[in-house]
């Protein structure tokens, strides 16, 4: 064994030992597993699921229409009103379709965007936009649960596991918190508790989960507590576990021990802490600069959340991060400007996240974007016509954005109709409109995400969109 390797293993062993002695909440975690977990390494394949809550207006971002063609005069014919002129009160918004500037070496963009796309447009060479998806619903909880699982909900109740759970369940990563679900639901219907997401509704709860308990006991008593918890369970206790509930809970406690042993809360703190090493504070300053975060940090902003995604992936804390990135999009009564502003905030945050991942080398070679697949989605889109109160209502057709590893880049797949933006019929092998083709459903997109990493997609009961797989 090489000396470097030996030193590394010894360091990990000592780190694990310190954590084992220091963490107060250790359950019956095998020491070998603990030592392994203490060595944080980024997953070779990472996944990011970003949800735009409320139903987005795809005309403003992923599925634009030229306002010179889709004019108010033709609205009775096209049933589409882009409404870009209604953004003119804010000069930072373009009032026409956005064609990104060519990125050196990437060739011109094949994708056009709406005016709210913001800085993400610069990364067109990493994207595949899927248009004309038939959501089959205009109910919020049905739509987002459909996209989370790739299975049409039963009424409004989700069926099956979340895609992130499916990925973690199949890939079994060694990351201490394999999956994080932030402000978003997560389901597990067939995998062990280790595949459960760390599910939090606020940034502060995420940090609290990763922080030591505020009430600490005497160290000797803590050790006794650990010993007591490690005792063999009795028949009575075991009887409760005939269907795995107790096993899930025990696994959650083991995860907890790993998380606390690694002081992961420090990784998600972006304000300087004087008592922390200078290198860690310098890293925090770099994160603040990359995501435009100012003190005091608003962790629950889109930028704060995007920074947390990067931290979770780059530090090897998680393999999958699912996040409700932005809300305020259910604008039945709001103005176009309000909706566009909220959307752009999220797209800018994603743009910064992609920039960060593209500029961060991955230990296995290439950069983090080469190892990460993104799915950006909403529960449905908004009507292509503006209603009597200046807003837009729920529309059954939507778009989704795939980016990164395993996906064909700089591509558009599918098309919503030019009359009323109805769900499109496409030739599945080309993605081009075809009146004899098939509709695109959320399960097709989820199957594609799973197939992009060569995972089993049988749960979706469909075939992936092979034309956009690399």
């Amino acid at each position: 064994m090489k000396k470097d390797q030996l030193q590394l293993e010894r360091r990990n062993f000592l780190k694990a030992s310190a954590a084992f002695g220091g963490a107060s909440l250790l359950g019956a975690l095998p020491f070998r597993a603990f030592a392994q977990a203490a060595n944080l390494a980024p997953a070779d394949r990472c996944f990011v699921f970003l949800y735009f809550s409320g139903g987005w207006d795809v005309l403003l971002s992923l599925d634009p229409r030229d306002p010179n063609i889709f004019t108010p005069d033709r609205v009775s014919e096209t049933r589409i009103l882009p409404g870009y002129s209604l953004l003119s009160n804010d000069s930072s918004f373009p009032t026409s379709v956005v064609t990104p500037a060519e990125r050196p070496g990437a060739g011109p963009s094949n994708i056009k965007f709406g005016p709210a796309i913001g800085r993400l447009a610069n990364h067109y060479d990493q994207m595949c936009v899927i248009r004309g998806i038939n959501m089959t619903t205009v109910a919020h909880e049905v739509g987002f649960r459909y996209f989370l699982t790739g299975k049409e909900p039963n009424g409004s109740a989700a069926r099956g596991s979340s895609t992130a759970t499916e990925i973690v369940g199949q890939m079994k990563p060694t990351n201490p918190v394999p999956s994080i679900a932030y402000g978003i639901e997560s389901y597990n219907d067939r995998y062990p508790g280790a595949a459960n997401a760390l599910r939090v509704s606020r940034a502060n709860d995420l940090i609290l989960t990763l922080s030591p308990s505020p009430t600490q006991l005497d160290s000797e008593i803590e050790k006794q507590l650990v010993n007591l918890r490690g005792q063999t369970v009795t028949c009575e206790a075991d009887a409760y576990d005939t269907r795995g509930l107790v096993g899930q809970y025990r696994e959650a406690r083991s995860q907890m021990a790993t998380v606390l042993g690694n002081s992961l809360n420090k990784s998600f703190t972006y304000a300087d802490v004087p008592t922390d090493p200078p290198a860690l504070n310098a890293e925090r300053a770099a994160v603040r600069a990359a995501y435009g975060l100012t003190l005091p940090i608003n962790y629950d902003s889109a930028a704060g959340r995007a920074a947390m995604v990067a931290t979770a992936l780059k530090k090897g804390i998680s393999q999958c991060v699912s996040m409700n990135l932005v809300g305020g999009l259910d604008t039945h009564f709001g103005t176009q400007l309000t909706h566009a502003t909220n959307q752009r905030t999220a797209w800018n945050a994603i743009g910064d996240l992609v920039s960060d991942l593209r500029s961060s080398p991955h230990p296995s070679g290439g950069n983090f974007m080469d190892h990460t697949t993104f799915l950006v989605f909403s529960e449905f889109s908004r009507t292509p016509l503006i209603n009597g109160t200046g807003g837009r209502d729920h529309h059954i057709s939507s778009s989704a954005l795939l980016m990164g590893a395993g996906i064909k880049h700089n591509t558009v797949y599918g098309k919503a109709g030019d009359i009323g933006m109805g769900p499109g019929l496409v030739n599945r092998s080309t993605g081009l409109p075809d009146p004899k083709g098939m509709v695109i459903l959320p399960e097709d997109v989820i199957a594609t995400v799973l197939a992009s990493a060569k995972l089993d997609y049988a749960i979706t009961r469909t075939e992936p969109l092979k034309a956009i797989l690399t």
Binding site: V177, D205, E220, I221, R243, L245, V246, Y249, R250
Partner: protein, 218 residues
């Protein structure tokens, strides 16, 4: 097939017990069961041995509302953060989330640990200043005259452990498991006495019980 046999025995016992009563003669106007000759066959309960060892509904994790009520019941005090953390613990807000999550996941495990530590050490500290043993929450079986925790004998410790487990889990510790807990308590009590952290003796036992699967499942 152990359970059906036990069931038969139980039925026999019930019948025996009932047979002590004088047989009731149906009175005029009362209804008597009617034999249905063409009644469709009744599916018997499944054999547990063919059902992975279980029959009936699966155990469930308690909801946030149940947790809140349980903490108050067993410790006599409320965890200060439970309302703040309710959403992450799984409580539905019926605005954005309309289904209660009862997954025993990492967040639940960690926050339950935090909550147990807060209320258990609080209750144990309050017990130390309660002169009448019967009024104590966590140690009513320990005579008030015993102020040195290391002087609590095994029988007293066991009596209190049985009380606490019944209070927190609804089932008493017994057998080898009781011995294990007694031994753990004896060591903790000695350390708590020596370190002058008396509240941590019964407090730690309470934490262990409140974070045990038996507390969170039903």
């Amino acid at each position: 097939m152990r359970i059906p046999l036990v069931g038969l025995l139980f039925s026999a016992l019930v019948l025996t017990a009932c047979s002590n009563k004088p047989a009731e003669v149906p009175r005029a106007g009362t209804l008597t069961p009617v034999e249905l000759a063409n009644h469709p066959p009744i599916t018997p309960l499944p054999d547990p041995e063919l059902q992975g060892g279980h029959v009936g509904r699966a155990p469930r994790r308690i909801t946030v509302a149940q947790l809140k009520a349980s903490i108050l019941t067993v410790s006599g005090r409320q965890w200060s953060q439970i309302d703040n953390l309710a959403a992450s613990l799984g409580k539905a807000d019926y605005a954005l989330v309309n289904a209660e999550s009862v997954e025993p996941n990492l967040v639940f495990a960690k926050f339950l640990e935090d909550g147990a530590r807060e209320v258990c050490t609080g209750a144990a500290a309050a017990d130390l200043t309660t002169p009448n043993a019967a009024d104590r929450i966590l140690s009513p079986e320990v005579p008030a005259s015993i102020t040195d925790l290391s002087k609590i004998d095994a029988a007293t410790a066991q009596k209190n452990l049985v009380y606490l487990s019944t209070r927190i889990w609804g089932q008493p510790l017994a057998g080898a498991e009781l011995e294990t807990w007694t031994s753990a308590f004896t060591t903790m009590a000695a350390r708590a006495q020596a370190a002058n952290k008396k509240r941590e003796a019964w407090g730690a036992i309470c934490i262990a019980m409140m974070t045990d699967p038996r507390f969170i499942t039903y």
